[in-house]
Every structure is written in C-alpha cells, then in structure tokens.
Amino acid sequence: MRIGVITFPGSLDDVDAARAVRLAGGEAVALWHADDDLAGVDAVVLPGGFSYGDYLRAGAIAARAPMMRTVVAQARQGLPVLGICNGFQVLCEAGLLPGALTRNSHLHFRNRDQGLLVERADTAWTSSYEQGQTIVVPVKNGEGRYVGSDADLDALEGEGRVVVRYVGGNPNGSSRDIAGVTSADGRVVGLMPHPEHAVEVLTGPSVDGLGFFTSVLTGLVAA
C-alpha cells in the first residue's frame, strides 16, 4: 500500500511522517505541493510544519496549492487523508474539515507529551485503537486552538465527529478539549498532536502514534 506525504514549502515533519508510514509497513511516496498528480497513492498524509511560513493564516496558502485541489476532489470520493498539526490547519482551510485553528489562548508555543482520549476507533485512521483508549503523543504548536461557533461545535459533537480529545490538560485552549476531528464519512482526519513522533521508543514518549498509520494500511488491505 502506497501512502503519499505532501511536502509544502515550510513543511517540517514530512520525513518523520514518511518514516512512520514505513514503520507501519507501508510504502511512503513523496508528493510535491506544486504538482497536481497523486501518483496513484492509496492515501495521503499532510505533515506538520509552517507551510508558506503561515504568513496569511496557518495553512491558508497551502490549502490553495495545486496538489490540494486534487486532494480535495479525491477526498470527496473517499480517499483517506490525515492532516497532522499544520496538515490539520490545511484541511480546515481547504474546507475538508469543519472549524479552524487559531492562536493558542495563552499565546505561548506549547511543546510537550500529551494525553489523548480516543473517542472514535472506527475512522480510516484510528481503527487500530480501542474506543475510550488513552494514548500519549507529542504536541507542539503555537496556533493549535480549535475553535468554531457553539452551534457548529454542538453539531460536530452530535454527529460524533470528535476523534481525539485532550486529557491531562488542554495545551492550547481548544474548545471543548478537541484535539482532532473527522469528516462525516470518517475518511478524513485532522489532529494537532503528532502521532508520527511517537512511533519508536528511541525518539518518542511511546509508540502510541503508530496506530494511525497501521489503521489506514489495515483498512486498505481489507478494502
């Protein structure tokens, strides 16, 4: 199974994301933001970083890149897409996920190991987990505060589209401790914390993050 990892100008975690794909047993395929061909990959990861310097808003300019037009069209046909940190911001800016990420409530960049409660274990990217499981992966952001109108957040929760929620403290002031959400069909997932940094005991606080990548590979084999 081939998982594409898109590199934008300013992406930082594309190499780690590709490594996580390989450790999970997949083939990582490097994709470039200015191309518009997905090279036949079976799923796509949008990595963390500061695409285009986050000059306008985090993820705003990357969301309009040629490759993203293809990703948006294919995601609407069911292509699994995972957005991590800046990738989550890109997915919200591209309209594939609801809400928005903005400046942390305390205005500090926050970098620490973070507990997450898995509330959805049936999406394309979280089927390797158990519902109600707590995992620990790094979080690192300055503009990670998930926001939306109360009506939008009520609708999101009513539809059960919160995938992971912060536990043991909210690192950025996100509404309702929301760390990650999914599309209505469970194929597109975005989260601020970094599962790709928790795939090896040598470098991560756990190997809890590997499940995101094994989930999509398992689903693709079964399909």
Partner: protein
Amino acid sequence: MPRVVVDVVLKPEISDPQGQAVLGALGRLGHGGVSSVRQGKHFVLEVEGTPDPAELRQIAETLLANPVIEDVELHLVPEAQD
C-alpha cells in the same frame, strides 16, 4: 490606481488572546479607559481598471479572511493620491 482596503477581524464569539495582551499592556501604561482591543489584519490592494465588487468580495472571503472565524469589511478608495 483604485485602491481597495480589506479589514479582517476575528468574529466577536472567537476569543482574541492577542488583543487581550495588548489591552493588558495598555492598562499597565495607564490607559485604563480602554475596555477592549480586537486585533485584526488590514490589506491594501491596488487594482487595475475598474474593480469588480463581486470579484473583490470573493478574494476577501476565500483567501484574505476565513469566514469560519473572521469577519471581513471592504472599502473602496477610488483616487489614490500618489
């Protein structure tokens, strides 16, 4: 050349920690009479020919602002003095 000014500010229901930090600084400087600060963005576009209001609104709402969290206002400045 016609000039278009686009002001973008977070919606009232979205908290603005940057504005609150500025408000705190104003208080420390003795400007206790300021009760609220909202920080936003100010874009100045120079447009060739006659600006198309529909196109400008599209520019403002699809790129310059994120309508999920931000309000946007457009102001046309017909005669730029320069």
